[in-house]
């Protein structure tokens, strides 16, 4: 008889798996955020990169420290803290003091995520809660927008970044001031939070994620579509409403956070529509100019209910009932 081999590894099937793991998914999200970062660096100058790096670093540090304190296995290798940090930075005005941004990172990573046991166990999106906490806690710095003049002018002046205090298009819209053109809104040569300005760059990132099958287009489409339809019904300019504020960033990068959004496609569509409705309600009626983050947070909280009503049904069961 031939040589025997003993002590082979015995494990449950399947013995192969898809090469995509959590870290690759998160890495793809970071890659998808790069175009938006590039545009905001172009618009706001080097401080945009600095802010992003500081937030990402702070998030990784808090993740590492809290795992250490909890005596648990370290999870910074899964890139999720970096994603949270970058998205949080994208939600802040570029002139925000760094220490405040770091508090936001603390809220996001420690309060929202690690207290509940870490990745996958939080019920609300860390970056959203971090942003809302900063928004409510530091109302003034969070709504102080220092920004370049119009991009074309900056190029003509060749003076690089010339910071003046300005208002975001949504604030101008709320105040009834003259608005930037839709092209400017789309390209992102406007004022606003660091990563929110360029709809185009965010869209490129979103398409990358859809192509890489990291996100399903259900939530972004439902969200953006609802915002557009509602603005038409309410008599606003849909292109402006979609490109302004955090709709693009929220719909593509924050509402699609797996952990805090429904698991089935029908649930995701409900989730996206809900986000769109609440966003427009807050924009049109509440005292805050922007409602994307509140909308996503509320839908995060509703996610368990959405999940339980959109449970996938067993194959063939209805069919059988119909036959009978």
């Amino acid at each position: 008889m031939a040589d025997k081999h003993t002590n082979l590894i015995v494990s449950a099937a399947p013995h192969v798996c898809n090469p995509t793991d959590t870290a690759t998914i998160m890495r793809d999200v970071v890659i998808a955020l790069i175009p938006a970062l590039a545009v905001s660096t172009y618009v706001f100058g080097i401080r945009a990169i600095l802010m992003t790096v500081i937030c990402a670093a702070a998030c990784v540090f808090f993740e590492w420290a809290s795992r250490k304190i909890m005596h648990r296995e370290n999870t910074i290798g899964d890139w999720s803290a970096i994603v949270t940090g970058v998205i949080l930075a994208f939600n802040l005005p570029v002139g925000m003091p760094f220490w405040m941004a770091i508090i936001g990172c603390f809220v996001a990573i420690v309060v929202v995520k690690q207290i509940f046991g870490g990745l996958g166990q939080n019920f609300a999106n860390p970056a959203i809660v971090g942003r809302i906490a900063l928004f409510i806690g530091f109302a003034t710095p969070m709504t102080t927008w220092s920004v370049t003049k119009n991009m074309s002018q900056a190029i003509i002046n060749n003076a690089g970044v010339d910071a003046v205090t300005g208002a975001t298009p949504l604030a101008m819209w709320n105040a009834g001031a003259e608005l930037p053109s839709n092209l400017e809104m789309f390209l992102g040569t406007i004022n606003g939070s660091l990563g929110e300005v360029s709809a185009l760059a965010l869209l490129i990132g979103g398409i990358y994620l859809v192509v890489r099958k990291v996100i399903s287009p259900a939530i972004p489409c439902a969200f953006i579509g609802t915002v557009a339809v509602l603005s038409l019904i309410m008599g606003f300019d849909p292109i402006f409403q979609v490109c302004a504020g955090g709709v693009m960033l929220g719909a593509i990068f924050m509402a699609t956070d797996y952990v805090t959004s429904p698991i089935t496609t029908s649930g995701r569509i409900i989730f996206g529509i809900g986000c769109g409705i609440i966003t427009m309600l807050i924009r049109a009626y509440a005292s805050y100019p922007e409602g994307v983050s509140f909308a996503i947070l509320l839908m995060n909280i509703l996610t368990p209910h959405i999940d339980s009503i959109t449970r996938s049904k067993l194959n063939g069961v209805e069919k059988k009932g119909a036959k009978k």
């Binding site: 008889m1 031939a2 040589d3 025997k4 081999h5 003993t6 002590n7 082979l8 590894i9 015995v10 494990s11 449950a12 099937a13 399947p14 013995h15 192969v16 798996c17 898809n18 995509t20 793991d21 959590t22 690759t24 998914i25 999870t75 899964d78 999720s80 870490g118 990745l119 996958g120 166990q121 399903s216 797996y258 952990v259 805090t260 959004s261 698991i263 089935t264 449970r311 996938s312 049904k313 067993l314 194959n315 063939g316 069961v317 069919k319 059988k320």
Partner: protein, 468 residues
Amino acid sequence: MSSGKHLKGVHVNHSKNTAGMPIIPMPVPERVYIPMSMHIGAPCQPVVAKGDHVKVGQLIGDCDKPVSAPIHSSVSGDVESIEQFMTQNGRVDTNIVIKTDGKQEIAETVVPPVINSREDFIKAVRASGLVGLGGASFPMSIKYNTKPGQVDTLILNGAECEPYITVDHAAMLAYAQDMVDGMRTIMKWLDIPRGIIGIESNKPDAIAKFNEILAGSTDISVCTLRQVYPQGAERVIIYECTGRHLIAGKLPADVGCIVSNVTSVLKLQQFLTTGMPLTTKFLTVDGNIVAKPQNVEVPIGTMICDLIEHCGGLTGEVKKILLGGPMMGRAIPRDDFAILKSNNAVLCFDEKFAAQRKETACINCGRCVAGCPMNLMPARLSRAFKDKDIDALREYNVMSCMDCGCCAYSCPARKQLNFEIKQAKTLVMEDDKKKKAKAEAAAAKEAAKAAEAEAAKAAAEAKEGGNK
């Protein structure tokens, strides 16, 4: 034929390294070890004794229970011993060890069976020793013994959706005509009007071959399946070929179908024409450290290590050996097990492939839901299993899982989802048993009470009568 809708699944790298290789018979090994339990159901009892001389195709084990299949010798030689030891299923079983003489004389009993009726046909199917060769090892005579008129479609499963395995493909290329003849025989005796051959679209030559043979005939058609795992699973292929849903707990016959593997039908046809029962198995031997990956015809009872030796041995240190494909196949702890009727591949891998992947937290990405052909929610099931929440497990239809492994394959957190669901199923079944026992106990108690009351009543009546 298919309704345009498809069941979900996952795209798996095919890795069909042995594609296009013909099936080459392997020379008989020095000894074969034939266990008495190679099928679902009651194990067989040896009908030969130590020292007996046996020939190829000779009956060596049988059982009078209905759910069983007889076992025949795959070699000619002498019964060296009848021993108890562990087989690849992890059970200790009676094994007949035969020392081969290399002559491969064919037994006198090997004569084509005479069939005049449906009953004769079922009897012949049983005599062939055939079990479902796709891996289920369910005795074929039971599967075919349906009520007349119950079944309207015979599906020939040539999907071969598992990676690496190409042996069915090779068999289809080599024996397409026999398979079609086999189908027609089955359809004739079981009175089935329609036959469908389901083949995954990555085997265009096999599809072309069948189409050529079937040109002009209306009884049998070829259904091209998508290249999505698991097309070969019984419930999936029934849906893809007929649009009928087979729900958990039902048999294919309940939805009017019989599904048979291509090689099952081939072997049946061979038995009906030559009388030679199931004694050899077509196997793919592959894996990243097998020197000469190939398709071989192996006598049942051959040791796996002998088979690997035949395929040029190993080029690296083996860490994992799989019986079957990587999606549903079983990893075995040692390689000195015998090949059974239900095996269809032996895959050997080294450290690089076998390394255990570290499990991380579920991020609720929904890939498992998107991949589940049964439309289950594996992530929720896994959570319910963790919480030991049996009600939730039932609510999320845990029993409908068919163990295809799509969920675990696609999980980015590397969770062993289908393994957990498997355990969860056991949990639910135990709970069912407990509940049943409880209900029975309650019923018994009730009955006892009633009886007691009856007795009391009778006694009272008797007393009353006495008083009168």
